[in-house]
Amino acid sequence: MRDPVIKLEGIHKTYGSGESAVSAIKEASCEIYSGETVALLGPSGSGKTTLITMIGCIIEPSGGKLHLNGQLIYEGTWQVKDTRKLRRERIGFIFQSHNLIPFLNVRENVTLVPQMNGVSTAEANAQAQSLLEYLGVGDKMEKFPSELSGGQSQRVAIARSLANNPKIILADEPTAALDAERALSVMQLLRSLAHEQEVAIVVVTHDERMLPLFDRILRVEDGYVREEKPAII
């Protein structure tokens, strides 16, 4: 039996305290496995972003347990010393707008995280080149983000998220800024990446047209997370 790469056990998050306390996530328990694409669905304000930021160790849960790659990361308090190092080494992020660093060129954007992890410049460059070529933007290595189209930027952002060879990729509405054709192309790319490279990809999305491309759907509503059956493609 496979071990989940992401395991939530009764995770919850409350902002504020006393009478002004707001419960963003009341209870979330689920397991996500490598090679899976999982959609996080839900209306605005339902707690999707809160959930993904807790999985990404960006905000601290108020309670419950969080395991990543089989390691207990949170139980009442962080169980790892440096959550930023954990993100840098184990998780890839893709954002709504590509969020590339504007003063770094494509190659530098992709090699930044590996270099922060101690990978040599030559090795990071070689890896960036193969990733960018795989994603169809190999000829844009020396371009700056401002010189790329929306689709190209998002492909570079995907390359960046893969640069540290993560087993988990968290994406926050990665297709929101793209037209339907490019959005479909990016989602297909993420799906094939998940399957080919055995990466668990969790995607926050509003776009129900993309749902057939996901292996699983988690709906977040009123602070609770429940699983829906995906449509068959």
Partner: protein
């Protein structure tokens, strides 16, 4: 490892260089202010150094002739020449005058000396010394008079026979040199009515007065000993060259130095505040990027290093720009500006410290940025 500070600067080079140039102007002004002080100290010593006496004899209980008024009868020179160890006695007068250069009035500082002899209390850059003590004058190049030019002083016209370069008084006014008798005549240039009035009152003031005697001693005589003897027998104030220098540099320019010091401190504070604001604004402008960096795992050290390096580079660039600005503009100031490397080095250390301190507000802001703010639209 990618140098984030360098990449950011290169990406917005024009903006960064313009900012550094603006801060550089401020640092340049600080350097010029220090240069003004150095210039004042330097200018104050030009005339005494050119005269180069061993002793100064001035009116009793005064700090003359530069810091306070001093009047002595000229015939005291005969008595002074009689003292053991005294080789030469040079009577001198000093007065501020306003003369016309074309239609433009300029202030000058006139020295009267016994012209025609070997003693020339100036360093000529061109022309000759006053050979005939009759309507000949030496001027500094700063007066813009040329050799052969004629200028009017009092009721007489003088011909420029020699020029000095950068000979100025402690106040920065260019020097002119003329014969002692003519200088005394200028000092006591009364109207005919006043002369008549003085005669009716029972006499007219003697014009045979000088402001100081510059004494040179024979070799082997101790200046303090000769000074003591003159003070004891002639009841006049005697200063050594060292004491006169102290009077000039401490008493005369001390207040101005304090004033300049205050301005310099204020300018440094203003520069620090401006650098802080610039670094803070630069950090605020990169909030999104810093949030992304934090989110993808950049350490606080990486972010602190980026802001610190930018701040330091801004300070260093501004210092270089300020230095170039100060050196390029120093000669255009009406007063002497002296820029010395040790002052620049001290200012460099101050700029580096200020830059580091200035980056703290930016770093503090950057470290507070929530990485979660990178998520969302």
């Amino acid at each position: 490892m990618i140098n984030l500070a360098q990449r950011d600067i290169v990406h917005s080079l024009g903006k960064f260089v313009t900012t550094a140039f603006g801060v550089g102007m401020l640092i340049g002004v600080v350097l010029i202010m220090i240069g003004v002080y150095r210039g004042m100290a330097h200018d104050a010593m030009i005339v005494p150094n050119d005269i180069a006496p061993d002793l100064w004899v001035v009116q009793k209980d005064t700090l003359g002739p530069f810091a306070e008024n001093s009047r002595l009868h000229e015939d005291l020179k005969y008595a002074l020449r009689g003292f053991t160890g005294v080789q030469e006695v040079y009577p001198l007068t000093f007065q501020s005058l306003q003369i016309l250069q074309g239609i433009k009035p300029i202030r000058v500082y006139a020295m009267g000396y016994e012209a025609g002899g070997a003693f020339t209390p100036y360093r000529l850059s061109e022309g000759r010394a006053i050979a005939i003590p009759h309507r000949e004058i030496i001027v500094d190049t700063k007066t813009k008079f040329n050799l052969g030019d004629r200028l009017h002083l009092g009721r007489n016209t003088y011909t420029v026979v020699g020029r000095t370069h950068k000979a100025v008084s402690s106040g920065g006014d260019p020097m002119i040199y003329l014969d002692l008798d003519e200088a005394q005549e200028l000092q006591f240039l009364f109207s005919n009515e006043q002369i008549r009035n003085d005669r009716v009152r029972g006499g007219s003031p003697s014009t045979a007065t000088v402001n100081t005697f510059a004494l040179r001693l024979e070799e082997g005589y101790a200046t303090w000993n000769v000074a003591k003897e003159i003070g004891r027998w002639k009841h006049q104030q005697v200063y050594t060259a060292q004491e006169q220098e102290e009077i000039l540099t401490k008493n005369l320019i001390e207040r101005s130095a304090k004033q300049i010091g205050m301005f310099t401190v204020i300018l440094l504070i203003v520069s620090s505040v401006i650098i802080s604001l610039i670094i803070y604004t630069m950090t605020i402008g990169k909030m999104k990027e810093i949030a992304i960096l934090k989110l993808i795992g950049a350490s606080n050290f990486t972010i602190t290093k980026m802001i610190g390096q930018q701040s330091l580079l801004l300070g260093v660039l501004a210092f270089i720009g300020g230095n170039l600005f100060a050196h390029a503009s120093a000669d255009y100031f009406p007063k002497t500006i002296i820029l010395i490397p040790t002052d620049a080095m001290k200012l460099f250390v101050v700029v580096v410290v200020v830059s580091i301190l200035a980056s703290l507000s930016g770093i503090r802001t950057a470290l507070r940025i929530d990485p979660a703010s990178a998520i969302g639209g």
